[in-house]
Structure formats: structure tokens, C-alpha cells
């Protein structure tokens, strides 16, 4: 039985730890014996060597951590131009020696540390957003991309207690891919709803979200489904993502094995309805962990389509590094099984700065004002934690 004030005690030890949402509650990983900071040089040997670790039949036979956006681009052969930013590591993985299962409600009392913060500043104002929006719409008309996500970033100076933030976030916004990384010099707090990879044996699935609706008193699940089905723009965006994810799975799966298990259903969360599909397949023999990572990441639903051409358009446009945003957090077990999400709805706190990135999609019938506000709504849920 885990004691009530466990998290407070753990925090006082100043040991790094990670919390990851599970179906029933949360898993906490700590006592890290190794920490690997990823570079373009070591990433291949890191990924390839995981399966060679001797399994001790422990629940800590795994590496847990994240791939940032830039290194995932590099893996698929795309170089980013020089960008501004916090110079945060491109990816970090940890080898835990201890795993603790926490129940579904996290108890934590903020012990005296005041969360200090300045106001958030946005990196792209409405006028420049409109410009980018119109430029991308032209690219859609000429067929260079069919859907592209413009990223805006909110930044402030702040000193926060990440455990307090995470616990409060799970109370207001409990999402299935939530996680917290609390390290000495940085923290990441996320309420990601989106699973990118679930791999067990030769089974692999992905569960893209395309379409979000805020809950109101008048809505229910059936009405939300009706809204999505009747909304041609949302339907088209979602269709595109389904075909793209089928494609990404097809690269590594046996021909004929890729199936849409759940087609365009609605999932209900605390404040939102999501339009979701579940696609799965059976891996080809001898598919490596690296093959899987390169085929599936960066997750298509937060980039746009087609992936390579759209990534190139985004990278030519974006002046600031996305860091963790639209990367992936999760774990790779020694037996090759894995679980990864897409890092969205996340706070990166580093060097006493917090950054929150958000994006929404441009398709041919998108409206710039609507998407700009949509971005703000997504960021606000996280910015409210600073109040």
C-alpha cells in the first residue's frame, strides 16, 4: 500500500521520477540507473541495443523517456534549419530500477513553494498567423500539402512545482496519455490524449484523434457523433489521418493485416469529446524497433499530410524549435514491446521558463480566426494552472 504522502516524500528526496497514466491509475518510475541524452549520433545504437539487454523478468526491464520533434525529423532524413529556442535536449531516456503502481487519484500537497510566474507571451500574433495561414492555403491549392498544422508557442518566466501542476491537471483534465517527467533541471507536464503506438508481440495499433468538441450541457455522446459526422470539414480531416495512419502501419505490417478496428467513433473526456479511430496491424517478421519508430513518428495527426512534404513546409516556416512538442513520450521494453503517445497539451519547464505549444490544422475550408482562437483555447487549459 502506498502511503498518502508518498509523492511529497519522493519530491523531497530530489530524485528524478516519471509518472505515466495507465488504464486503472498511474505508474511511477524512479531510481534511474542510466540516463541517455539522445543525439543524432547515439540514437541508432540506443534504439538498436534495447532489445539486447538481458531481461531480468522485472517490471523495470524498459527504457522510458521521450523523442523530441527535431530528432524524429532527423530520423526520417529531414534536417531542420537553425532555429531559436531554449536549447533543450533532443530526447532523453531513463532506465528505472523501481516501479510503483499508484491509484487513480493522485494526492499531493504543495508544500509552501509558491508558483511564481510572469504573463505568457505568444510568439506569433494574429496578423502574422493570418499571413502564415494564407501562405499555407496557397500550398494546399497547389497540392503541396492537403492538411498542415500551424504551431504557436506561449512562453513565460516561471518557477513552478511540477508535481503540484501535474496533480491539479489530472483532476481537471484526466487524459489517457498523461505523463510527468520531473528531473533536476527540467520538468514536463502533459495531459496528452493521444496514443501513437501500442505494440505487444507482433500486434501494433495507433489511435489518432482528429476532431475535438468542447462539452456543453446540451451535448451528449450521440449528439457529438452527429456533429462530427455531419461536419464535412472535420470528416475530411479525419479521413485523411485515417488513410495516413493506415499507410504508416502498412510500411511495417504484413500485407492485408492493417485494419480499421474502430472507425470514427466519439470518446468522452472530462471537458471534451474527441473524434477517434483505432487502426491496427500485424508486424512483418524481423521488423526492428527503429523501423517502427521511423514509420510512425513524428505522429501524422499533429503534423499534417502528406508527412514529408508537410514537414518540409513547416520547418521552412517555423523560426523556433518545437522541442518536445509533437515528439513522443513512452517506453520501450527489453522484449521490444512499446507504448508511445504524441506530446501535445504539454508544459516544458526548463531554465525557469515554461513553454506551451499548440497547433491546429489548416485544410482548404479552415478559417484563420477560428483556428487562431482554437489554439488559444488549447493553451488556456494549461496556462490556467499558473493562476
Amino acid at each position: 500500500m502506498i502511503k498518502k504522502n508518498y509523492l511529497e516524500k519522493l519530491k523531497r528526496t530530489k530524485k528524478p521520477f516519471i509518472i505515466y497514466k495507465t488504464k486503472k491509475g498511474f505508474d511511477l518510475y524512479t531510481n534511474f540507473s542510466k540516463k541517455i541524452i539522445l543525439t543524432n549520433k547515439n540514437i541508432y545504437s540506443f534504439i538498436n541495443k534495447i532489445k539486447k539487454n538481458k531481461s531480468k523478468n522485472k517490471n523495470t526491464d524498459l527504457y522510458i523517456g521521450f523523442f523530441g520533434y527535431e530528432i524524429l525529423n532527423n530520423l526520417v532524413g529531414i534536417k531542420l534549419p537553425n532555429q531559436k529556442g531554449l536549447k533543450f535536449p533532443k530526447g532523453i531516456f531513463y532506465k528505472p530500477e523501481k516501479k510503483i503502481i499508484l491509484k487513480s487519484k493522485l494526492n499531493y500537497k504543495n508544500e509552501g513553494l509558491n508558483n511564481l510566474s510572469s504573463d505568457f507571451k505568444i510568439n506569433i500574433n494574429k496578423k502574422s498567423y493570418n499571413k502564415i495561414f494564407n501562405r499555407f492555403k496557397e500550398k494546399i491549392k497547389s497540392g503541396k500539402t492537403y492538411q498542415i498544422k500551424i504551431c504557436t508557442k506561449y512562453l513565460n518566466k516561471s518557477k513552478i512545482d511540477p508535481v503540484d501542476f501535474f496533480c491539479r491537471l489530472t483532476k481537471t483534465n484526466l487524459s489517457p496519455e498523461s505523463f510527468l517527467i520531473k528531473d533536476k533541471k527540467f520538468s514536463i507536464i502533459s495531459c496528452s490524449p493521444e496514443n501513437l503506438i501500442t505494440k505487444k508481440g507482433n500486434y501494433i495499433s495507433t489511435k489518432p484523434i482528429a476532431g475535438t468538441l468542447k462539452k456543453t450541457k446540451k451535448l451528449n455522446k450521440i449528439k457529438a457523433l452527429n456533429f462530427f459526422n455531419k461536419n464535412i470539414k472535420e470528416t475530411k480531416e479525419h479521413n485523411m489521418i485515417v488513410d495516413m495512419e493506415r499507410n504508416d502501419l502498412s510500411k511495417i505490417c504484413k500485407p492485408g493485416s492493417v485494419k480499421i478496428i474502430k472507425k470514427k467513433i466519439v470518446e468522452e473526456y472530462k471537458d471534451l469529446y474527441h473524434y477517434v479511430s483505432l487502426i491496427a496491424g500485424k508486424l512483418k517478421k524481423h521488423t526492428s524497433t527503429l523501423d517502427i519508430v521511423k514509420s510512425m513518428m513524428p505522429g501524422g495527426s499533429v503534423i499534417g499530410c502528406p508527412k514529408i512534404s508537410t514537414l518540409n513546409l513547416l520547418n521552412a516556416q517555423e523560426k523556433e524549435n518545437r522541442n518536445i512538442y509533437t515528439g513522443s513520450f513512452g517506453y520501450i521494453k527489453f522484449n521490444g514491446d512499446m507504448r508511445f503517445n504524441i506530446i501535445i497539451r504539454a508544459i516544458l519547464n526548463y531554465k525557469n521558463y515554461s513553454e506551451i505549444s499548440v497547433a491546429s490544422g489548416v485544410v482548404i475550408d479552415s478559417n484563420a480566426n477560428h483556428e487562431f482562437n482554437e489554439n488559444y483555447i488549447k493553451a488556456k487549459a494549461l496556462m490556467d494552472l499558473y493562476k
Partner: protein
């Protein structure tokens, strides 16, 4: 063997899986063409992809070299690639279809498919064929049921086939059947 030329698209591997249920398939990106594989192939497929046919001169060259010698199939951009190589104009359209399901109808007596048949297909195209288009042995055999935009071409003499829509999309009814028919033609 079927050789699929990928134009860096996010749908090509759906095409690969679809064709794999009928024959052995090899697939390379357009900037990494394997000449040995092309020589071995009975059929060459031009994949969908971003941009316009003029962005891929390599594919136009391959088309011209193998026209009449091997069966050639084009999907979406690949369809436009065939037409462009036959001197057709590929132009923008007012209404753009990305991830859109719509109905097409078979409009020709000479098609492998039954005239007047209608079915639902998935579409992802910004550009279209500018008409009139008249070239020897080519016939437009399917059209959008609403806008009349050209949706399929057949050249049964040289065994060249193209679809503006995506037979491999989950939005297309009977996509496998379409591919089976043109592969056995």
C-alpha cells in the same frame, strides 16, 4: 512483379498493400529508382503524391520509356503524371477535394467497367485534367457524378490505366476489385 514508384506520399504503402494481394510488389522512392527492378517488372505504378507532375521529371521519363512495353498504372498524381506526359494540361480547380468521399460514374462503352455503374470513392486532389483532352487510344472512362471532372482513363491498346481518385483509400468501395480488373486486363 509490380514496381511502384513512390512520390514521397503518405498513402503509397496503402497502394503497396492493395497490389500485394495480387502479385509480388517492389516499391522505391522516385529519387531512388532501381533500374534492375524496373526491367524485371511487368507493371509500373506511379503513386499519389504532393505537388504537380512537372515536379517529377524522372517519372515522366520512365513513363515515356516504357509506354507500350509494360503495363502502366497511375493513381492521383500518377494519373496526372500519365496525362501530363501525353501533353495534357493539369490545372487547379475551384473546389478542392482532400479526404472527400464522392460518387463517380462509368461513362464509356469501351471501359473495362460497366457503363453507368456508380460507386463511392475517396479523393485527395488539388489539381485536375484540363479538357478537352484528345489523344490517340486514350479515353476518359469515369467522371465525378456531380462535377463531371475526369476520374479515370484507359488506354487498352498500350495497357495504360489511371485513377484520379484513390482505389486504396478506405473511402473507396470495391477498390480491390478495380485493381484486380486492370491487373488482369
Amino acid at each position: 512483379m509490380i514496381y511502384i514508384i513512390d512520390h514521397n506520399d503518405s498513402f503509397t504503402h496503402n497502394v503497396v498493400h492493395q497490389f500485394s494481394s495480387f502479385s509480388k510488389v517492389e516499391c522505391d522512392n522516385f529519387d531512388k529508382i532501381d533500374q534492375k527492378k524496373i526491367n524485371k517488372a511487368e507493371t509500373i505504378v506511379f503513386s499519389p503524391g504532393p505537388g504537380a507532375p512537372k515536379d517529377y521529371p524522372v517519372s515522366s521519363k520512365i513513363y515515356k520509356k516504357y509506354k507500350g512495353k509494360k503495363k502502366i498504372i497511375g493513381i492521383c498524381l500518377g494519373f496526372q503524371q500519365i496525362l501530363y506526359s501525353e501533353k495534357a494540361k493539369i490545372v487547379g480547380q475551384n473546389k478542392i477535394y482532400h479526404g472527400f468521399q464522392s460518387e463517380v460514374k462509368v461513362t464509356s462503352d469501351n471501359s473495362l467497367f460497366k457503363k453507368k455503374q456508380k460507386f463511392k470513392v475517396g479523393r485527395y486532389h488539388s489539381l485536375k485534367l484540363k479538357e478537352p483532352f484528345n489523344t490517340n487510344n486514350f479515353e476518359i472512362t469515369m467522371r465525378c457524378a456531380i462535377s463531371n471532372v475526369a476520374m479515370a482513363i484507359e488506354n487498352n491498346k498500350d495497357k495504360i490505366y489511371g485513377f484520379q481518385f484513390h482505389p486504396e483509400s478506405f473511402l473507396t468501395e470495391n477498390g480491390n476489385l478495380l485493381i484486380k480488373k486492370i491487373l488482369s486486363a
